[in-house]
């Protein structure tokens, strides 16, 4: 790259009419991404959006980049082919809880296992939206949907647990209505070398409205959402008066100033710790809900390993062409 091109968010908007329901958090995700891309400094022709099927997966049509709107569940696998073929491309996988945790679960976990440099943006609304309201693999037990009229009996996946169980090196969670933090996290996810999973807790206004209200609404979010940053103490609350401590192998909420608790007692977030134990505890917390980059551990990526091995084989092989091969 010779000159850094300066983009604004408008450069990433396509001419297609956006067709999500009014009020959907997907609009926030779209705008946050369009704002994040100019901050990445990547030529727009080198950015690719791959999606599967579902509301989330209409995303690529609204971006003025390269993209494939694929088939249900297979976005991560299509994206793997793109990235392996041209590691120079920045590849986003735009997917949902049905797309990646149900029908595409296999591709999701294997992409993560391989640590290929894909940026998986997982729109989690705990419902099937495009098919109009059936329970998804992240729907809660008891949740009433069109296919669980008496309440859902299937326990939900926690996307973060699943990602870390598949050896996830980068996992972030962010509220669907939090445009500013989404933009920041998308930039960080892109910078991270390896598979990054960003779970966006996205409200479906039609079929599962208010699923995250208890921790994302303006009125309550300071008390019930803990946004963590690497190297900083895990403090939350309107008055910054609550924090997490690690006690007896468990995370506990404490009030600062009570029982002699001061800021230096509060756990400092270490996103780079290879041991996922605390990250998992953070992911599993129910109150507060933890958002931010929970885990970010740099390891060799699949394409780095591939490139190295290919160079080694090339250096030691006498076969340089098809003709060499058939004459060997």
């Amino acid at each position: 790259m010779t000159t850094q091109i300066k983009y604004t968010f408008k450069d990433f908007a396509s001419d297609q009419e956006v067709r999500w329901c009014p009020g959907c958090d997907d609009y926030v995700i779209l705008r946050s991404m369009q704002k994040a891309l100019p901050l990445m400094g990547i030529p727009k022709e080198k950015i690719v959006f791959i999606s599967g099927i579902g509301c989330s997966s209409r995303f690529p049509y609204y971006m003025d980049n390269y993209g494939i709107h694929g088939i249900h569940g297979r976005a991560a696998a299509i994206a793997t082919g793109v990235k392996l073929s041209n590691p120079d491309l920045t590849v986003f996988v735009m997917t949902g809880d049905g797309d990646s945790l149900a029908i595409g679960g296999n591709h999701f976990i294997h992409a993560i296992r391989r640590n290929i440099d894909l940026n998986i943006i997982l729109f989690n609304n705990e419902i099937y939206g495009l098919t109009k309201g059936q329970f998804s693999p992240t729907s809660l037990i008891g949740q009433k949907t069109k296919t669980s009229p008496y309440g859902n009996t299937q326990p939900p996946f926690n996307a973060g647990e699943l990602a870390l169980g598949a050896q996830g090196r980068f996992f972030a969670r962010v509220a669907g209505n939090d445009a500013k933090r989404q933009t920041e996290i998308y930039v960080e996810a892109q910078k991270f070398k390896g598979t990054s999973v960003v779970e966006v807790m996205q409200n479906c206004v039609i079929f599962n409205d208010g699923a995250y209200k208890f921790w994302t609404d303006k009125a309550v979010r300071d008390e019930h959402q803990l946004f963590i940053e690497h190297g900083k103490p895990m403090i939350f609350g309107k008055n910054k008066d609550k924090g997490l401590v690690l006690e007896g192998g468990e995370l506990k909420v404490v009030n600062l100033g009570e029982n002699g608790v001061t800021e230096k007692d509060i756990l400092v977030h270490d996103a780079h710790n290879p041991d996922p134990a605390v990250h998992l505890m953070l992911i599993r917390m129910k109150n507060p809900i933890v958002t931010g980059i929970i885990r970010s551990v740099r390891e060799e990526t699949l394409e780095e390993r591939e490139a190295k091995l290919t160079e080694e084989v090339k250096a030691s092989s006498k076969i340089k062409s098809y003709n060499d091969l058939v004459n060997a």
């Binding site: 088939i71 696998a77 073929s85 041209n86 062409s321 098809y322």
Partner: protein, 621 residues
């Protein structure tokens, strides 16, 4: 491969034969595939034409001595061109009772059996469900039975070599090979060289195997039951360099050649499945040629990663067998809709479901043609022999790249695993490939603008500035390429995708019959049955019938001139290894003709003899 002097060092009389068919059979751990391969290589290096077919069980190491654990390797060697591994066996090498029982029905009356008598224990006879010992009860009186205590002779010969007892016993396959080398006047020196290389860090194993090989050769030389050594003379020497290659390897090499010819890199997305895995394994070796052989998490990821790779500008392929093709169906439909290059290779096996994983069949034709939702046309071609798989793989690449539509290449377990000499093709001898790749910014370009001749759209890959676009599985507007649900637009797009495939007719060879250009019977076949059909046609013509052969390597679209060829014969017969899928496809496309059928669905290739008989019946009916 150079022809070498074919004179054996035997002191016994020598008889010349036109061709022989040999099968090595034993437990799946007995090394029969290696033994067969060695015999084949030696015969080929000594100037014979060869065609082989391994027949192995689905179980890797089935219980020793059991009927279902029998592994076989058949080879026909000839002093003229051979097109099949042969029908009936001249020689059966049976390393145990189960191998004898399973393979005896394929032996010619009067044929020879070499058995390891040490393996004919009561326990082994029971495992093979023999009520009495066939070596003693007179049931083999129609054959020449050469009884050899092979295990004990081998162990005795190797008694001074410091290797464990198991390894000594295991060398008995080389003893058997030594005997067969003597019987057919083949010099064992190529196998000796092979063993030295293969076990170069295990000198004792090399010594043991070579000793067993030589002991077997000498044993045969002194054996009264083997009074004559049979020589199959060198076949006519063809110009050029040849390699013994199986269909799977030929397929892999065809893809490598095509990628280089097109100036692209090859990407294979695949998942192991019998009998297609060899292609993935072969391509995994060629990082030095920038081949990416990606072993995916499942069949679907195999094809979808290939779709991603194609979008990113690779020559992309996925390899599988029937069950895997079923899983890939939806993604192939996506590739049809995206109108990007994609090669899908189906090495067919017996089905449905898991079926007969290691056996051959041609029953995926309808699946290849129609096994997807919606109107989802793809080009379908089929390889007719192991060496033809090279050309068909190359052609699949040329067609998919130049016409921007997926190609399904059908091979099968028989040609995938079967091998024959392949004339080494240099890159410069192969046709050029011109993908419609665009690397610069075009004004007023839409993703679904089409070439007026081929109807192919342009291939614009990520990284090309100013050409950003999104393609997807939803129907698109014929002009802008944007999503469109317009009724008439959909019908237009469905028709144009079909028409694009039909226009491939203009770029493939016209149909031509082999042998008689008109007459009593036209034999119609496709894919891997070519050798057997050709032999049957020859036999019928020798008997005075006027017979043609129309063998199809191009199935969709059907080549030009097909109806003209069909109209020249009194009767048409479609012979295939299924219940009549190609026959029905022809009935649909060319309903003006009446088609007789000859079908076999036994997991086995056609035999020339059964074909000849069936065809004669049709001629006379």
């Amino acid at each position: 491969m150079e022809a070498k002097n074919n004179t054996p060092a035997t002191k016994k009389p020598v008889k010349h034969l036109d061709h022989v068919v040999i099968r090595f059979a034993g437990d799946s751990g007995d090394g029969m595939q290696l033994t067969g391969t060695q015999f084949t290589m030696s015969a080929a290096l000594l100037g014979n034409d060869v065609f082989t077919f391994p027949n192995y069980p689905a179980e890797i190491r089935a219980p020793q001595g059991s009927l279902y654990g029998v592994s076989g390797y058949q080879v026909q060697i000839g002093s003229h061109e051979v097109d099949t591994p042969g029908d009936k066996l001249d020689l059966l090498v049976a390393m145990n009772p189960a191998a004898l029982k399973k393979n005896l029905p394929d032996l010619k009356k009067g044929g020879m059996i070499i058995v390891d008598t040490d393996a004919f224990t009561n326990a082994n006879l029971q495992k093979a469900h023999y009520e009495s010992n066939p070596l003693e009860d007179g049931s083999l009186k129609d054959y020449t039975v050469v009884e050899v205590p092979m295990t004990s002779l081998t162990r005795e010969a190797l008694k001074d070599i410091p290797i464990d007892s198991k390894s000594k016993t295991r060398s008995k396959n080389m003893f058997a090979l030594g005997m067969v080398y003597w019987l057919y006047g083949k010099d064992p020196k190529y196998t000796e060289a092979f063993l030295r290389k293969k076990f170069k860090n295990k000198p004792d194993i090399v010594e043991a195997n070579i000793k067993a090989l030589k002991t077997g050769w000498n044993y045969a030389e002194t054996l009264e039951l083997m009074p004559v050594s049979y020589i199959v003379d060198e076949a006519e020497h063809h110009e050029g360099k040849y390699k013994i290659i199986n269909g799977n390897m030929a397929t892999a090499w065809g893809l490598i050649a095509a990628a280089e010819k097109a100036g692209l890199q090859l990407f294979l997305g695949s998942y192991p499945i019998t009998p297609a895995t060899d292609i993935l394994q072969e391509l995994s070796k060629y990082r030095q040629l920038d081949v990416i052989a990606f072993q995916a998490e499942d069949e679907i990821a195999g094809v979808t990663s290939a779709i991603g790779a194609s979008f990113a500008g690779k020559l992309a392929a996925t390899t599988t067998s029937g069950p895997g093709l079923a899983l890939k169906g939806e993604a192939i439909g996506l590739a049809v809709m995206l109108e990007i290059p994609l090669i899908i290779i189906d090495v067919q096996r017996g089905g449905p479901s898991t079926g007969l994983p290691t056996k051959t069949e041609q029953a995926d034709l309808m699946q290849a043609l129609y096994g997807r939702n919606g109107e989802s046309p793809v080009i379908v071609i089929a390889a007719k022999s192991p060496s033809d798989a090279f050309y068909r793989a190359f052609e699949a690449a040329k067609l998919t790249l130049e016409h921007m539509t997926p190609v399904i290449l059908l091979t099968d377990g028989y040609i995938g695993n079967g091998s024959e000499p392949w004339k080494v093709m240099k890159l410069e001898d192969l046709p050029d490939i011109h993908p419609p790749l665009v690397k610069k910014t075009l004004e007023n370009w839409h993703p679904y603008d089409r070439d007026p001749e081929t109807l192919a759209r342009k291939w614009v890959i990520p990284g090309t500035p100013g050409m950003e676009h999104v393609i997807g599985g939803l129907e698109k507007d014929k002009e802008s390429g944007a999503i469109s649900y317009e009724p008439e637009n959909h019908e237009y797009m469905v028709k144009i995708r079909e028409e694009k495939v039909q226009r491939v007719k203009n770029y493939i060879p016209e149909m031509k019959a082999e042998f008689d250009q008109e007459g009593d019977l036209l034999i119609i076949g496709w894919g891997g049955t070519y050798g057997a059909l050709k032999n049957a046609a020859k036999v019928l013509r020798d008997k005075g019938h006027k017979v043609g052969l129309a063998h199809f390597t191009h199935i969709k679209p059907l080549p030009k001139g097909t109806a003209e060829v069909f109209s020249k014969y009194k009767k048409l017969v479609v012979a295939e290894l299924n219940l009549g899928q190609f026959a029905n496809y022809l009935r649909m496309n060319l309903p003006q003709f009446r088609y007789e059928q000859v079908n076999k669905i036994q997991g086995l290739p056609f035999y020339e003899s059964e074909l000849t008989e069936a065809f004669e019946k049709i001629i006379k009916a």
